[in-house]
Symmetry: C2
Subunit: 364 residues, 2 copies
Amino acid sequence: MEKLLVETPGSTYPVFIGEGIRNNCAELLQPLLSKKSKALIITDSHVNTLYGEDLETNLNSMLPTTLFTIPEGEQSKSIEAYENGLTACIEANLDRKSVIIALGGGVVGDIAGFIAATYMRGISFVQVPTTLLAQDSSVGGKTGINHRLGKNLIGAFHQPEAVVYDTLTLATLSDKEWRSGFAEMIKHAYIKDPEFLSWLKDNVTCMEDMKKNGLLQFLKRSIAIKADIVKEDEKEAGIRAYLNFGHTLGHALEKVSGYGHITHGEGVAAGMIFAMRLSNHLELAHWDIDIEKRWLENLGYPVHAASMQSPEALISAMKTDKKTTAGKLTFVLAEKPGFPFLQTVDESDVLFLLKAEKKERDFL
Amino acid sequence: MEKLLVETPGSTYPVFIGEGIRNNCAELLQPLLSKKSKALIITDSHVNTLYGEDLETNLNSMLPTTLFTIPEGEQSKSIEAYENGLTACIEANLDRKSVIIALGGGVVGDIAGFIAATYMRGISFVQVPTTLLAQDSSVGGKTGINHRLGKNLIGAFHQPEAVVYDTLTLATLSDKEWRSGFAEMIKHAYIKDPEFLSWLKDNVTCMEDMKKNGLLQFLKRSIAIKADIVKEDEKEAGIRAYLNFGHTLGHALEKVSGYGHITHGEGVAAGMIFAMRLSNHLELAHWDIDIEKRWLENLGYPVHAASMQSPEALISAMKTDKKTTAGKLTFVLAEKPGFPFLQTVDESDVLFLLKAEKKERDFL
């Protein structure tokens, strides 16, 4: 088992990474749980059938624990689901000394974290991520839900008090889920670690490679990159925004194609390629787009996803992006690997490139 | 005009108090507003007719400003109203550099503050309280809404960046609203300032006295007491809980009698008398209950409110109080003026006293 510490201005918390460690939660979290009155596990219908009962039994050995299940899928990041979760907290008689345990993927972590952030003005929570994507989002304290007019528009910064990441849970992920989570890791390499990016390009060239090549080492490196950034800028006043590389178009793609049709990581991968093109177009970089695109395409990412959608609809969706200020579209661009920067971009430039993508596709 | 500074671990902000200053908001807030992209005023239907247009015009001289109105009343602290407020933020294109202005009473301040706390994971907000009660709650950063199963169970700590308190707005308050707000001020005297309490008992002996006797001085003292407490304990890990003197029963009375039938301050006044009785009953104090009760009764407070309700229903409501941990009822008790303390109390003691109140009333 590995243990990393994440430091933020307000708190320091451990991230445990190891095989099968979800069954040792009570023991690993003993210093925290021994001070708590009770625990509520929040999980989704799918993860519950895999790990719910085991975790509940394990934690019950330490403190009174109950479990609440939300339906699987992005739809559960709605205001209605949020209200249902709060009702579950009240019905479980959670008090200010209770703890919420988020067991599941990114959706579960986001909504359970937001419930913990706002129930009685904030109680403790612990992340037990079961997907690659959730492993990424479980560090850093971003929590939130969707508004019907935009993704993640409602939320809070609320750091977990611990993260328990059992790598055995990855065994049950679909290829789509692998790909979705892996995109965030690739992103970390692009924005912060050129050496690591080279290694990835050499060693991970197809889906199967993701699942075998030195994964634990990779996880640790990815978390460490994120922890470094969060440490410097917890509330995203500055460099934390770089973690949104690929996300401006990525979120818009998710929204316009209808949540669930394209995964978060798929959107981010297409968004990263687009950000590189935009960097070139504005004469701020010299990416070899074909090389980058081919690598991501070989890994199964839908790098042409934007060409399937209306450019106008994508731009309209981007305008509800949280980075947008005073109506200007803002992108994380990059000069080269390891050198990201924030840039407000004229709508006309974005529109031009989106239309170009569409034309290229029609041509193919 | 007077200016106080409220210090918290994360921020320091000004509280402006003066006659007619709401019409100088743009000027007073210039250092803050000049850095913002746009403003959204959130107010209620009643306050809007009084001050909405003036404030919108005033602020528009500084930055693009729009206004969103919620229905008047506690019902607007619902999850539905919260969602509507978020929709208004999105439709007004608020971004991370925007500011929400809460114009109104406690309900408006609580919900607008919670919207500001959670829209895009937190944006700036300014309080422009128009009632005595809101003047109290506008300092300290507690924001929140109600769940159908309990009051203020959902919320966040989110400090305003300024408070503008125009004492002229008090002119339009009903007696019920005066009484409601004044209870919090009396509470400050009970928990922290015995000398001030004596002055109040000598000088404020009927409703009309509230409205005339050195009000501005009183407001400042009351805010200063609260600011001192918030400075020491922003997140209510310790002494801030003393501000809940009278609130355990008070909240239960509001809930059991149906929100709106008894005002917040009326509930708190009855709750303070109950807390004194409980302090005596547990042999932790020697309050002369009759004297305290008579004073508050002369001011028009329903000090017997608990006797009208089922003791069991009140206890059940108290169990959803945020101070409750591990199912134990927790009260702020007081040995004497200026000496409050937190105490977990057996349900049987509370039940005994509630039943005694009922019997006394039947006897009268």
